[in-house]
């Protein structure tokens, strides 16, 4: 007999469980995506999800981006001053925002805001039989609940990140010109000189991937939740935790893919 706390058995069970879950999630994602090309399409639901992702996330993403840009300028200035390289502040701010911090911070914020809400909503629908009810009402619940959200998040996140990038640079600019003694023209031209289009594009691609992951984790955890209020609570937690971890891990992989030469 295997002792329940046998570390090898526990590890094995954990790995097997993780593989099974990964397989389930992959099948779920494929099913969700397959409805993109099979009518009927729910434009109204896509729009509602898109507004939730893009419009209602704007304030929190904007605030995060402005403050991040400000902090970046301040911190990098004190760091670069030691090497008399203060001129690189604008460069650092714009590259960090577009390549990394814009997509990652927007992703984490949206995961906490919308990913959690999706998991809670679908989880509640699951435990109150509303998802089963859809099936009895001639409606495919994947098509109705999951596909519009996957698509909306994938489209909305890049737009949010574009805004976050601009506001992050603006934050750096505000600190640079008001506290650090840069002239407005010098700061802006330093920003634009160093900015290359593939920095922006790589960030937007990351954002699209993160958006998809947030919606996938939110819908999957909600859709497969079980067991009443507690099940909904843990679905919400897992949605946020898993999408946050995946965002950071995928950020590394995508960076490696884009920039490792």
């Amino acid at each position: 007999m295997i002792h329940p706390l046998d570390p090898v058995a526990t590890l094995g069970r954990g790995v097997l469980g993780a593989c099974r879950t990964a397989g389930d999630v992959a099948l779920f994602a494929l099913d969700g995506l397959s409805h993109l090309v099979r009518p009927p399409f729910y434009g109204r639901l896509f729009l509602r999800a898109f507004i939730d992702f893009a419009y209602y996330s704007l304030p929190v993403v904007a605030l995060t981006a402005v403050f991040t840009g400000m902090v970046l300028a301040l911190q990098s200035y004190t760091g670069f001053a030691r090497f008399n390289a203060q001129g690189a502040v604008a460069n650092l701010v714009v590259l960090s925002m577009t390549r990394e911090l814009g997509p990652v911070l927007a992703g984490l914020m949206v995961a906490g805001r919308v990913g959690a809400a999706i998991a809670a909503e679908l989880g509640t629908m699951r435990v109150t039989d509303q998802i089963d009810a859809l099936t009895t009402l001639s409606t495919n619940p994947m098509k109705y609940l999951v596909t519009p959200r996957l698509l909306a998040a994938t489209v909305a996140l890049p737009l949010l990140v574009l805004v976050a990038n601009i506001l992050g640079v603006l934050g750096g600019y505000l600190i640079g010109t008001t506290k650090l003694g840069f002239s407005s023209g010098a700061y802006l031209s330093a920003t634009l000189d160093f900015l290359h289009w593939d920095d922006v594009v790589s960030g937007l691609v990351k954002a699209a991937v993160f958006g998809f992951v947030i919606a996938l984790m939110g819908t999957w955890n909600g859709y497969s939740s079980r067991g009443g209020a507690q099940g909904v609570g843990s679905a919400t937690t897992s949605a946020v935790v898993s999408s946050s971890v995946l965002i950071l891990a995928l950020d590394y992989l995508l960076t490696e893919l884009f920039f490792a030469r």
């Binding site: 009927p40 039989d129 509303q130 089963d132 009810a133 099936t135 009895t136 001639s138």
Partner: protein, 283 residues
């Protein structure tokens, strides 16, 4: 008919009740719904353990059984929401478990379901809940669907103005009525009712039962209702079946409930503490 377990009432043994309605007796020969050996386990828990059941077309069948005995699971198997581990389920003589997605959806288009807790969509106003299937099947415009929703709400005794409310603004009894309206709006051939009166006061329960009987009769539909309320079972059911320990242990006319001669059913129907059913407080 060989599998149709009919333990007749002692005084009625010479004349099985189905023969009293010749037209229905013919219909009963090809059951609308037919379950054979349906098995469903959740992990080590044997919920359904070989369910055999015939539901005659145009009849109203009530399924009795204790809480947690698997009644809802059985209904969900018939709807395709849960896939059984073994057994066959036929609707109109066709094996629904071996259908592809599209065929299955076509069968479900003709089925209405009232869920145990109504399961109304709280993101939609009442009228869109009621008209949901009509809109999903693209049978009418939104304006027409809205009119139809008002009609159906009237049928279940609600004012059309209720259509503009959100489901969360309704009392339990009103939610059940809206759930009933949603189940019948697309005029299904088969309607399932999962504990339609549980959680309602006795008068509201009787009112809902009356609505169910009216609606089923008006549509000429086949109805399968789950209940553990005996008064309700006698009011809604033509036929009753008892689910116990994962099997249908008795089938017979609903009016015999309480004096069927089957110890399990009689204990359940009369709510006696002592008898063959021992409450399993732990599984």
């Amino acid at each position: 008919m060989s599998n149709y377990r009919h333990d007749a009432h002692p005084e009625d043994r010479t004349e099985p009740y189905l023969v009293a309605h010749p037209a229905e007796a013919v219909a009963a020969a090809v059951p609308k719904i037919r379950l054979r050996g349906v098995v469903k386990h959740f992990g080590s828990k044997h919920v359904l353990d070989g369910v055999d059941l015939d539901v005659a077309a145009g009849h109203s069948t009530v399924i009795l059984g204790g809480s947690g005995s698997g009644k809802s699971v059985m209904l969900k198997c018939m709807l395709g929401l849960i896939v059984p581990d073994a057994g066959t389920i036929e609707i109109d003589g066709r094996d629904v478990l071996r259908m592809n997605r599209r065929e299955r959806e076509a069968v479900n288009d003709r089925i209405g379901m009232l869920f145990q807790n109504a399961a109304l969509f709280d993101s939609l106003p009442v009228w869109e809940n009621v008209a949901f299937k009509l809109l999903a099947q693209r049978r009418m415009t939104r304006a027409q669907a809205r009119e139809r929703a008002a009609e159906v709400l009237t049928l279940v005794g609600l004012a059309p103005s209720v259509g503009d409310l959100s489901p969360s603004e309704l009392s339990g009894g009103m939610q059940k009525r809206v759930g009933l309206a949603r189940a019948i709006a697309a005029e299904p051939d088969i309607i399932f009712f999962d504990e339609p009166t549980t959680g309602l006061d006795p008068i509201m329960g009787a009112v809902i039962d009356g609505l169910i009987v009216d609606c089923v009769r008006r549509l000429g539909a086949t109805a399968v209702s789950i209940t553990h309320d005996m008064a309700s079972a006698r009011r809604i059911g033509d036929t009753a079946a008892m689910l116990y320990q994962g099997r249908i242990v008795w089938t017979g006319p609903a009016e015999y409930l309480g004096h069927t001669g089957n110890d399990i059913v009689d204990q359940f129907a009369n709510g006696e503490r002592d008898g063959p059913i021992q409450m399993e407080l732990r599984r």
